[in-house]
Subunit: 354 residues, 2 copies
């Protein structure tokens, strides 16, 4: 039966097929800029929301209902699975580790993840979302990339440039490799479990990878990403890797066996396409601050991204180039979605003579 | 008399001449990683240090004495001159504005700077430094770039990605241009005053410019930088512009009438050279986290930057790719300086047949 249904636009674009319309979703689309999200958060804090499948599923679905997004993304934090790997995580505005990793010996505290016992609530959230989502709107499962998780594990909280974490990978390269392997293995089974529970695409967020130069990326993070990708490839779901602020790394990313690369707002999609070898569907990259511009300028900014997207070699998934800001007016998002969906997927071909 | 003295290595490199050795200094070299700095700070907080010329000059000179740096950089904060432009600034770990700019009308609160009355203490610090520095070690005067200052003026404090500031420049483009012009004019006379007091090079720090995409940089910041540069050019001192995290902007920077471009640690100097049109001496770009590596790896990292530097078209000033971290061991800095100074300035030419 399902073979008679058309391929959802998001999945078509991710696979390099021509979608019926340019698919769009927005990073952090389930969030505080939505009144209906704030309503739920009034009754429960962030810490209580993720482990409550009924509520986590509800906020995951909200932006799909309101805007007609072409994908839902699971509501969770990149640190969520670490609690099932022996790491205590608190949330105080952002994730805070009472007992960060500071020495090579500390690395052994990071233990393998068993998703069924480590994150059962999250798999239940996936099942609830999938049961409610229409066929044409896939759920994206996600995880943090090993280096990005390492940054938090070592610093103990978000910082401006994670110098301590970068110092650790330089002063303790063997321990760093061990830690990245443990994180890669944990995220591999975590993502696999999300796919088996019904997620139809998987995304790896490398929020802080832009802090590494190319040689360190090649030596440390690329093998860790390859390890995750090799584990997930047999599942047959599209894989998305987002090397945030990774303009200087696209040439290194080019070798990865992924389907989609996320692009932040700093680099034109055409440049990212060329530097990553024209191999991937690209996902991005409207500057989130464009949603604060007057309508006319917002439209122009959306059109610029759409035009870049149409010229891509493999395909385009429209998104922001970074998570949406909590002060964003939802009406601006609605306007952008409408414009993206109304736009032609491909440039009109010049008419032939016959 | 001074014509018989050799050109200081820093100035030679900045002007595209061959220096007697590769000049080196370190961003934030006067700072908390130095015990002698912490000793002074034990008696006075940051807020009290900048307006006290005797102490500010002392900490400016400390790294020159300890390491034999090839340049001193004035101890001050990029927000310091704004207090002479009608803006109240407090320091709580970093700069905090009790009354940030939030509307177009607020922009009028930013008034012209008269350095003699607005920052007299700072000009006195410059004079004291210059009186004590040997001929071969120039003092670098500096200022924040207009967009970077705008970020703080609008957000009121440092944030991760200054979305509110970027939203302002998009929603109030005219007011943003007005604000950038006021800041450019203020920084132009501020830098000029530093040069007239004895600073022998001037540097513009654009710490947050990496947040702008190329079209916004072209429309907003480049004209503001050009305005400053046009004002300073007749002074005849080398001008340095540091577009931090600006890899995607080097092509736009290429048109500026500056002498030196600062490069952060993410981009190889060779790439920065090519993308900025081989026009500038480059300053950078050892990853500050390399100073936490074991000696052997630190040496290798220094050598990689030196090798890139020797291959540059115009010249190289060795520096970190970002400010030095306060947890850095000064012995590592000493080791790096020694290695840089011992290295050949140019690759040895193959011997001819005669």
């Amino acid at each position: 039966m399902s073979s008679t249904l058309p391929t959802p636009p998001f999945l078509a674009a991710a696979r390099g097929e021509t979608p019926s319309r340019t698919p769009m979703w927005v990073m952090r689309q389930a969030g505080r800029y939505l009144p209906e999200y704030r309503e739920i958060r009034a009754g429960v804090d962030f810490l209580g929301l993720t482990p409550t499948p009924e509520l986590a599923a509800e906020v995951t679905l909200q932006p799909v209902r309101r805007f007609g997004m072409d994908a839902a993304i699971l509501f969770a934090d990149i640190m969520t699975p670490l609690e099932g790997m022996g790491i205590e995580v608190e949330f105080q505005g952002g994730p805070v580790l009472p007992d960060p990793i500071r020495t090579a010996a500390d690395v052994a505290r990071v233990t393998p993840l068993d998703p069924e016992t480590g994150v059962p609530f999250l798999l239940e959230t996936v099942r609830r979302c999938v049961a409610e989502l229409p066929h044409e709107v896939p759920l994206i499962g996600f995880a943090g990339a090993p280096f990005t998780l390492l940054c938090y594990l070592i610093e103990g909280r978000g910082t401006k440039d994670f110098v301590q974490a970068r110092a650790f990978v330089r002063s303790e390269p063997e321990a760093a490799r061990d830690l990245l392997d443990r994180l890669a293995d944990g995220m591999a089974v975590y993502l696999e479990a999300q796919a088996r529970a019904g997620a139809r695409a998987l995304m790896i967020f490398d929020s802080w990878i832009g802090l590494l130069d190319a040689p360190l990326f090649r030596a440390l993070e690329r093998p860790a990403i390859e390890r995750i990708v090799a584990h997930l490839r047999p599942l047959g779901v599209p894989l998305i890797y987002f090397p945030n602020q990774g303009r200087h790394l696209y040439g290194e990313v080019a070798g990865l066996d992924i389907d989609v690369m996320g692009v932040d707002w700093r680099t034109p999609l055409s440049t990212a396409d060329a530097e990553s070898g024209h191999r991937y569907t690209l996902q991005g990259n409207l500057d989130p601050s464009a949603l604060f511009a007057p309508d006319e300028e917002l439209d122009a900014a959306v059109d610029r991204v759409l035009a870049e997207g149409r010229a891509l070699t493999r395909g385009h998934i429209f998104n922001l180039g970074h998570g949406i800001d909590r002060r964003t007016d939802p009406e601006k998002v609605a306007r952008a979605v409408e414009r993206v969906h109304a736009a032609p997927v491909r440039d009109t071909q010049p008419m032939g003579a016959h």
